[in-house]
């Protein structure tokens, strides 16, 4: 058993009645609006991608700077170790 509903039409719809729905300028208006929206969306997407890349680069750059600083500045543990060596040497 099919799931379709079959209806019988005695007459074909007249051309005049169909013409009432014909409106190419309206189609063009919607099309232009969609094209503009797509363009804005594309620009926004590119902007977000570029922004993301810049943020990632900034994070990397700051992390690298921080890491370099950490390497050049002697740490407290190094001082403690040095003190222990000196004390041992004098006692020895």
């Amino acid at each position: 058993m099919g799931k379709n509903e079959i209806r019988l039409r005695r007459e074909r719809m007249s051309t005049g009645r169909i013409t009432r729905h014909r409106n190419y300028s309206e189609i063009m208006r919607i099309h232009d609006r969609e094209v503009r929206l797509k363009r804005v969306l594309r620009v926004f997407t590119y902007f977000m991608v570029i922004l993301f890349i810049i943020i990632v680069l900034l994070i990397i750059w700051r992390w690298e700077k921080h890491w370099q600083q950490k390497q050049t500045t002697p740490s407290t543990s190094m001082f403690i170790n040095a003190r222990q060596i000196i004390h041992t040497d004098f006692r020895g």
């Binding site: 099919g2 379709n4 079959i6 209806r7 039409r9 719809m13 169909i18 063009m28």
Partner: protein
């Protein structure tokens, strides 16, 4: 079937419309009524048909750049978009498909000549059509109500040409057996 020259001219219009969408207006004017009737036959709702027809042409405009020549008239491409719009609508609404068929066309479907086509026969035919699966009805509609050839039907429904022929043949064969009638196939 359109002459080769006319098909080529329509493709030139499409090419031109890629740069200037206003040019597509010529094809809109030419095919609006046919696409409207095609959709109306599957919805039986004038306002809904107007919306779906607009959406069909809008989709066509939006996808002009992706359209490729596949040896079928531009109208087949529009029918394909329209058929997809109708399918999308029914899928979204989860409603049963409606086929609103013209009496004259049903009579044309059967080679009755001058014989009288009684109301009872007509209603028997409608209840038979109701039992047919949707894919068979789609093929019958395109073949006998839109006068499309099998190559176009295959393109519109996204099936093979032999598949379109097979579906039509099966549907008509069942009709022949049930009604003991002579029906045009033109395969």
């Amino acid at each position: 079937m359109l002459p080769e020259e006319e098909v080529r001219r329509e493709y030139q219009i499409l090419e031109h419309a890629r740069k200037d969408p206003q040019a597509f207006g010529e094809l809109y004017e030419k095919y609006f009524e046919r696409i409207f009737n095609f959709i109306f036959r599957q919805t039986d709702d004038e306002e809904l048909t107007a919306d779906l027809t607009s959406q069909t042409f809008l989709n066509a405009l939006n996808h002009l750049s992706t359209f490729e020549y596949r040896g079928v008239p531009v109208s087949a491409w529009l029918y394909r978009i329209a058929a997809n719009e109708v399918k999308k609508f029914y899928r979204r609404k989860k409603r049963n498909r409606i086929f609103s068929l013209e009496e004259v066309k049903i009579k044309e479907l059967v080679e009755q000549g001058t014989e009288h086509w009684s109301e009872e026969q007509l209603h028997r035919m409608l209840s038979y059509l109701k039992e047919l699966p949707t894919d068979m009805l789609e093929v019958l509609e395109l073949r006998f109500f839109e006068d499309k050839d099998f190559k176009e039907i295959a393109y519109i429904l996204g099936i093979t040409e032999s598949g379109a022929k097979m579906r039509t043949y099966r549907a008509l064969d069942r009709l022949r057996k049930k009604f003991n009638l002579k029906i045009k196939y033109n395969g």
